[in-house]
């Protein structure tokens, strides 16, 4: 209809409460992420690894298949540990790829064309907007981490019936591991979510955000390794990959030292990563900074 064939009509309807209106933030953010099919493909790969490990569990619980694959020779504990180590390594790398793919789409596009100005002119708190973004990226990463862990343990619980011969020696350890691995998955998700959002908030260009995140993920590990090698000093590992590995190791072997460091250092470093990333997001989204022209 051409301009002015209709008169302006105001709107007087029921206004939704703030928590309800904030739900649209993760919804529209995820829509933007899944505009690219590769995100869906990556999510599919993440789900595939769960299916693969579940398949593996089916194999080890079926004596006929074990005989066929000569799995009886493998000690149960080794098999138990290996499955989780492979599982977590794969989880971390898929997660990392997902962060590189999805995180730049979170805040950068809204900074690029300054739509954040019209978003913040709405009656929503900044903290709510950030929470919406955390839910979007955190939810996506959760599907690849602790949700999968929970599902995996659920399948194990179903498959490892009390009658099964492995149950007695396998299940009690595994059940204890569940809480530890859940904690590791949640921690990894939180750290990667905040780091991803910080990378996205720091630049208006999504491609620059990818490069920046790569540097953040790989740089500290590379730097500490080089410093350790060149100066022959023991630098605590600060890269996210090392920390995730170490945290996983600590979860399996509580009380032991990792690379001459202990659980305090690993926890401190993880909290530091979260705090720095959260600080960057808050700083970048200060309204008068966003509005500066």
């Amino acid at each position: 209809m051409p301009v002015h064939e209709m008169r302006y009509r105001s709107w007087e309807g029921k206004v939704m409460p703030v928590p309800v209106r904030l739900l649209s933030v993760p919804r529209y953010t995820l829509l933007a992420v899944f505009n690219k099919y590769i995100a869906a493909v990556l999510l599919g790969i993440g789900v595939l690894q769960l299916i693969a490990y579940t398949g593996y569990l089916v194999i080890v619980t079926m004596p006929e298949l074990q005989n066929l694959l000569d799995l009886e020779e493998v000690p149960v504990r080794l098999r138990d540990e290996q499955i989780f180590r492979y599982f977590y390594s794969a989880q971390y790398y898929v997660c990392l790829l997902m962060v590189l793919l999805a995180a730049p789409k979170m805040i950068s596009p809204e900074l690029a064309h300054r739509s954040i100005a019209i978003i913040f002119s709405r009656a929503i708190p900044k903290s709510g907007y950030i929470l919406g973004k955390v839910i979007a990226l955190g939810g996506l990463l959760s599907l690849l981490t602790w949700v999968q862990t929970s599902l995996l343990f659920f399948f194990m619980h179903v498959l490892y019936t009390p009658e099964h011969t492995f149950h007695a020696e396998f299940w009690p350890d595994t059940f204890m591991l569940f809480w530890k691995t859940l904690l590791l998955g949640v921690t990894m998700t939180v750290v990667l979510t905040f780091v991803g959002l910080a990378g996205s908030a720091i630049t208006k260009n999504a491609r620059h955000a990818v490069v920046l995140l790569l540097i953040v993920f790989l740089g500290p590990g590379l730097a500490t390794t080089m410093i350790s090698e060149i100066f022959r000093v023991n630098v605590p590992p600060v890269s996210l990959r090392h920390l995730t590995q170490d945290m996983g190791y600590l979860l399996y072997n509580p009380g032991e030292l990792v690379r001459d460091t202990g659980p305090v250092w690993v926890t401190f470093a993880m909290v530091l990563w979260i705090a720095v990333a959260f600080g960057v997001v808050l700083r970048q989204l200060r309204p008068h900074r966003v509005y500066r022209e």
Partner: protein, 312 residues
């Protein structure tokens, strides 16, 4: 009165962008005028609660911006000066998103998104990504997003930027229509005086972070019996010096005529006396009815001279 600012000071670093600004806005539509850097955009950001006030208060429809910024934002629709869209989102989806953020249910938001886009004349293009629009149509999308939730106050920052003459006329008609028929108050920031004159009932002029003039446009434009346009034969510079010596304010209009404002309580006889003293003949002489441009220029000049007056 829907907006009241009292002694508002905003600083960026050491620079005072708003300097003890006080003003009251009333009526359906108000134009905020001022040269670049006058503080128009900063004032808008301050009333939306984005820029902290160093001193003073702003009350919007009775709500204090320091304590109720969120509530104020729910009453306001803001059309920024710069581009504002999310790449990849169509106009209808963008408006729906912003409508939902404003508190509309998804169904209402969708309905209002379509309605607003039809209203601004983008009905046919509403499913296209906004980045593919011309600059003029992007301006319309910005207007549509500002009205999608039916705000009580609509703030438009340079709404005719980047528009061709036809698009500009349509935008101005829309703004005027909203001001006249919606029951909303419109605040229009612009440096294009004709746009403000067409759309607004009243005007407030800002300069160097202060309100230097405020009033209803028609009243401001009324004949000012103290102001004359004159053309002289003889030593014009000498005449001008003589005028200033006698307490008159002088300037030059666009045709090159001398514009003279006599001091309070003096009439035309005084002007003739000064001309006689300066030894010039008055060849052209008439009362001056100000245009908005004259009012604006005069207010700025007086402000720069340090008079710092503010008409109520």
């Amino acid at each position: 009165m829907f907006l009241e600012a009292e002694n508002v000071t905003v600083t960026f670093g050491r620079r005072r962008v708003l300097d003890d600004l006080s003003m009251r806005l009333q009526g359906r539509s108000t134009g905020l005028l001022g040269p670049n850097g006058a503080g128009k955009s900063t004032f808008i950001k301050a009333l939306l609660g984005f820029v902290p006030l160093r001193r003073g208060t702003i009350r919007v429809l009775g709500h204090d911006v320091r304590r109720q910024a969120m509530h104020i934002r729910s009453l306001v629709g803001y059309m920024p000066e710069h581009e504002s869209y999310i790449e990849g989102l169509s106009a209808v989806r963008l408006l729906r998103y912003l409508g939902e953020l404003s508190g509309l249910s998804p169904r209402d938001a969708m309905e209002r998104a379509h309605e607003s886009l039809h209203y601004v004349g983008l009905g046919e293009l509403r499913y296209r990504p906004v980045e593919t629009y011309s600059l003029g149509n992007q301006q319309r999308v910005k207007l549509a997003q500002a009205i999608v939730h039916g705000p009580k106050i609509l703030i438009l920052d340079e709404p005719t930027n980047a528009l061709d003459p036809e698009g500009r006329n349509e935008m101005l008609r829309l703004v005027r229509d909203i001001g006249e028929y919606s029951g909303s108050h419109v605040i229009m920031c612009s440096h294009i005086l004709r746009d403000v004159e067409y759309c607004c009932e009243s005007v407030t002029v800002l300069n160097r972070g202060r309100a230097i003039l405020s009033g209803v446009i028609e009243e401001l434009k009324k004949e000012d019996i103290r102001t004359y346009e004159v053309r002289v034969e003889g030593n014009r510079d000498g005449f001008e010096r003589e005028l200033v010596r006698h307490g008159c304010l002088t300037s030059q209009n666009t045709q090159g005529h001398l514009r003279v404002q006599l001091p309070e309580g003096y009439g035309t006889r005084y002007l003739f006396e000064i001309a006689q003293k300066a030894g010039v003949q008055l060849r052209h002489f008439h009362f001056k009815k100000d245009s908005l441009e004259d009012i604006f220029v005069s207010a700025l000049q007086e402000s720069e001279r340090g008079h710092g007056y503010a008409r109520p």
